[in-house]
Amino acid sequence: MSAHSKQVMQVVQRSMERWGVVIAFVALFAFSTFQQGSDFFNAENFRALLNSNAAVGILAVGMTLVIISAGIDLSVGSMVALAAAIGTTVMNSLIGSGSSEVTAVLVGGAVTVLVGLAAGSLNGILVVYGRIAPFIATLGGLAAFRSIALAIADAGEIRSQSATLFSALGRGGLPLPGLENSAGRPLTLSYSTVIFFVLAAIGQWVLSRSRFGRHLVAVGANETAARYAGISVSWVRLRVYALMGLLAGVVAFIQSSRMNSVSTAQLGLGSELDAIAAVVIGGTSLRGGFGRVWGTVVGVLILGMITNMLTISGVSPHWQGAVKGAVIVIAVLVQRSSRE
């Protein structure tokens, strides 16, 4: 191969590495539009698509940071269930004991988020001070958090006792001027979607513009070298797991308010895998040391679009896993070949 064409190849590879996920998104978007026309390409569908993927998206933002630090968190789905179960129980008992609805929802929400933070910190402590591999430590969490949630509700559902406020938060959103749904009501961008985008933006900032982000990358790329450069590896890792837990708490609040109840057996089930998949599709290296939050956001949208497309075209939901699996494997293959 001549030197020139080699250079061209390198440029192509480098841009594939950087923009591959965007190209995939555009291609999939074009394909869906072409295939399904206005069934896919309408504001109401986009709203639903975003709304139903915001929760996984928020988890994926945190997961991106965890994976960049060369870690992983398998417990996030169970963490969501646990935080939602405890938070909603607290809220209900406050309402039962005569507190105002506002107080109950606020306190319940705070408890939800704090339980997430605590569970995440526990993961961090196990990884940092217990010196347990993140995969194993959080595998423990995956089993344990879910089990505690099930025990609290006796494997059943916890219905919210909040008359209106809780679900109003969960179902509400910011009105989008000039857009209406098929029933002629003004279309809203759900709060969960707004929170997802805001957190993603913060996540990207933290990663690329803050000292913590720089340290995350350094620890993920080479832990020993990070230690030799004077970075407190333990503190960095502890914080990233705690942050992940905090985000799981936020997701727990979003999900339980949206459903106005918590199904301890179902809530967040398998969402750790969706989150990890989105991170990988987004171009973050599973080996750590390299990644980007915006790529993860695109990854979430790609996964969401696939589900959306299959649903619209009436493909049995049982097939969705197979298609998603294929996409994940292809994404990793493309990235690996371009990086070597």
Partner: protein
């Protein structure tokens, strides 16, 4: 599998009875290019069976690259490798091994959880019951036979994890013999050995040579090379610059037939008189001790170290690998637990982490650039500002001020003339010299008072070496207290105001500036380091 294993046995046996097919391995116009560097430039060399061929050259001369090409670990950009006149296209080391070319790596590659016999026969286990079961008895006998060829009486049942480095090396060689190697490549085999062990290794090399094998051997120790090699090739900047061969009378002679010694080989390696690459030594400024070690030690590695360094002084720390130099340095900056105390500017300091050490003005530049000193997958910019990142963050670390970060990076890139095409590209493709400048610059940015630099020119080419020496001398002249750890004696002698020699975790001797200036300083350091000279301290 089973049949193949048997056939191998037969051919390997024949080797020991002396009817060994001798090999001729040739490199023909081999060129290897890395981005920005030509590591090998049109190298043509022949290696013959029954000869020990030493390759010498400075760090970065291309020795390791050549060995990697010969052993199939790397494909040349241009040129070819041929064995017995047939051009070989090795894609991976396994291809070379199959062709009879084995490499004994510097870092030994034994599987620690297996025993010697299993390691020796790894990948070619003798089997029985149509290849389904490993024949343990045969495996053991065979391993013992191969070790016997080397004159070693190690028990094949010993777990690999129990072996000393020298023993592991023997097992590694036996492993090569098991694969029927006709060409054996040794990458600095004596670097990790003591003197007696080295002698033993040499007798093994001679024995293997006398069997008709071609031995290729890299070493930094020219005395060894002159003693053992039948042929010596000198590489410099990726080119073959000179060669020597042993004449029938046993002397080493240059191409024009002049009897050669170590000095001649050394001059050929460097290509210019050695002294010129070292800057003039400045004088220590003032008498206020900057850093003082009192009865200091790295737990389990060194002890009883007392040392004072003045501003502007460069103290060399010599000694063999494993003598506790690096460990002690790491203990000073809080990377290891320590005993004794460290005083900075007269005050006892805890320095329990790199951060605290940095705050007190003590920094350590690691010898292991790729594993510890730098993040090779990250950019020049990130590497340059990582330790001093706090100085360009705002709002409690929430925002890194990229403007001032880029300014810091650019300043160092300019000051040290670091050649990096794109400051935001990973540094893995930079040359050793440029990487070393980055790992030095990142610590200087923290404005230290004490610089501990470990093997400052390991893997650095000659040109960048001179620059690094100049930088260190310059820093000292500006009042920095420097401790230079080096295994290269000429470096210690050429750079330091005085030198300490460590052996077995203690300071075994000290050479003053005057003593370092004497012609036999190098020899003196070697003697102290190897324990020949016990009363090193008297030698001031």
């Amino acid at each position: 599998m089973h049949l193949g294993a048997t056939l191998r046995f037969v051919s390997a046996r024949s080797s020991r009875t002396g009817i060994f097919r001798s090999a001729a391995l040739s490199a023909e116009r081999v060129t290897v290019e890395f981005p920005g560097v030509r590591a090998l430039d049109c190298v043509s060399l022949d290696f013959h069976g029954g000869r020990i061929h030493a390759i010498v050259g400075e760090n970065g001369a291309g020795k390791s690259t050549l060995m990697r090409v010969l052993s199939g670990a790397m494909r040349p950009t241009a040129g070819a490798i041929s064995l017995d006149g047939r051009v070989m296209r090795f894609v991976q080391p396994a291809d070379a091994i199959r062709a009879g070319i084995s490499m004994v790596h510097q870092e030994l590659n034994l599987v620690r959880t297996l025993d010697i016999a299993e390691n020796v026969m790894l990948g070619r286990e003798p089997t029985r019951t149509i290849g389904l079961r490993v024949d343990r008895a045969k495996q053991r006998t065979r391993a013992r036979e191969l070790l016997g060829v080397l004159g070693s009486e190690l028990n094949p049942d010993t777990p690999a994890s129990d072996l000393s480095i020298a023993q592991a090396q023997f097992v590694e060689i036996a492993k090569c013999l098991a694969s029927d190697a006709r060409v054996l490549i040794f990458d600095e085999p004596t670097a990790v050995l003591g003197e007696r062990e080295s002698k033993r290794l040499f007798s093994v090399l001679r024995r293997l040579r006398d069997d008709g094998r071609a031995i290729i051997f890299i070493s930094h120790h020219l005395d060894e090379v002159v003693a053992i090699a039948d042929e010596i090739t000198v590489l410099r900047d990726g080119k073959v610059v000179d060669s020597f061969a042993r004449a029938t009378d046993g002397t080493i002679r240059s191409i024009d037939g002049v009897i050669a010694d170590e000095g001649m080989v050394a001059n050929a390696m460097v290509g210019r008189p050695l002294a010129s690459i070292y800057p003039e030594k400045g004088v220590a400024i003032g008498d206020q001790v900057v850093i003082e070690l009192v009865d200091f030690g790295a737990q389990g590695c060194s002890h009883g170290i007392n040392l004072q360094v003045l501003p502007g002084e460069i103290v060399g720390l010599a000694g063999l690998i494993g003598s506790g130099r690096t460990e002690s340095a790491e203990a000073i900056v809080g990377l290891r637990p320590r005993t004794g105390s460290v005083r900075i500017g007269g005050r006892d300091e805890r320095l329990s982490s790199v951060r605290e050490a940095m705050a007190a003005g003590v920094v350590y530049v690691s010898e292991d650039r790729k594993g510890r000193g730098l993040h090779v997958t990250l950019s020049s910019m990130i590497n340059l500002t990582l330790p001093s990142l706090d100085s360009c963050t705002e709002f409690g670390g929430l925002r890194v001020d990229t403007g001032s970060e880029v300014a810091i990076g650019d300043r160092w890139i300019k000051a040290f003339s670091i050649r990096c095409a794109r400051p935001h590209a990973p540094i893995s493709f930079l040359s050793g010299g440029n990487q070393q400048k980055i790992s030095l610059a990142r610590w200087l940015e923290t404005k230290p008072r004490v610089l501990i630099i470990d093997e400052p020119t390991r893997g650095v080419d000659v040109g960048a070496r001179a620059e690094i020496y100049r930088i260190i001398a310059e820093l000292a002249r500006e009042g920095l207290a420097c401790i230079v750890i080096s295994s290269e004696l000429s470096e210690v002698i050429g750079l330091a105001h005085r030198a300490l020699v460590m052996r077995g975790g203690v300071i075994a001797g000290e050479l003053s500036r005057e003593r370092l200036a004497r012609a036999d300083a190098q020899e003196c350091i070697v003697r102290i380091a190897s324990g020949v000279l016990e009363e090193g301290l008297v030698q001031r």
